[in-house]
Symmetry: C2
Subunit: 120 residues, 2 copies
């Protein structure tokens, strides 16, 4: 059985992973992989709405995955630690071998096209 402090640690770890676990946040992190960017550059790189980007950035910053630096009216974001990029790289490597499985993991995530209803 898990004891309380383990549960807290697991929750924190899960929360950390959840930082990477949303396509919008992950594309922000990926955009920041090789260079720091202002918010508007991130908006442009990801194609997301500005308020959406800003919300996700706030989350990523609170979580310590990115850092912000204000310059005039611009705010530049960068990954706060090399291990953030390392985690993404490791996930990519793993994904290379299990992509089909992840793709088919529709248990909790059938997006729009659940069944085309023609083959029921």
């Amino acid at each position: 059985m898990l004891i309380a402090s383990d549960q807290l640690e697991v929750s924190l770890k899960a929360k950390l992973f959840r930082g990477f676990g949303d396509p919008s946040r992950l594309s922000i992190l990926e955009a920041l992989r090789d260079r720091s960017l202002t918010v508007s550059q991130i908006v442009e790189a990801t194609g997301l709405a500005q308020s959406n980007v800003s919300n996700h950035l706030g989350c990523l910053k609170d979580c310590g995955l990115v850092m912000a630096e204000q310059t005039g009216r611009y705010v530049t974001y960068r990954l706060s630690d090399d291990r953030v990029a390392d985690l993404i790289a490791l996930a990519e490597s793993l994904l290379g071998d299990i992509a089909r499985g992840v793709y088919e993991c529709t248990r909790y995530n059938l997006p729009k096209d659940q069944e085309t209803s023609s083959d029921a």
Copy 2:
């Protein structure tokens, strides 16, 4: 701007991370870190309900993060790849330095005790 195939890849990666991004699933993965376990051993190790464990195991299996092997009426699960454990270890290392931030990342996740309302 992201092009379509990038978006697919980002979605897959995010989905992979989401496999780790739930406390229940993560504690299952952690229980399997150093040894394979039957479903009932996982139930006991995590304290989760059996149907809940089974649901999460199904998800983890579909995603390729764990493998199952049936023996009699028991089904034994193990991590499918060393990199699954590596990802957890790397996250732990990162968390060691940013734990406070993750803890305070309440933007999307204030659980039960939002404000004790005494200090408003």
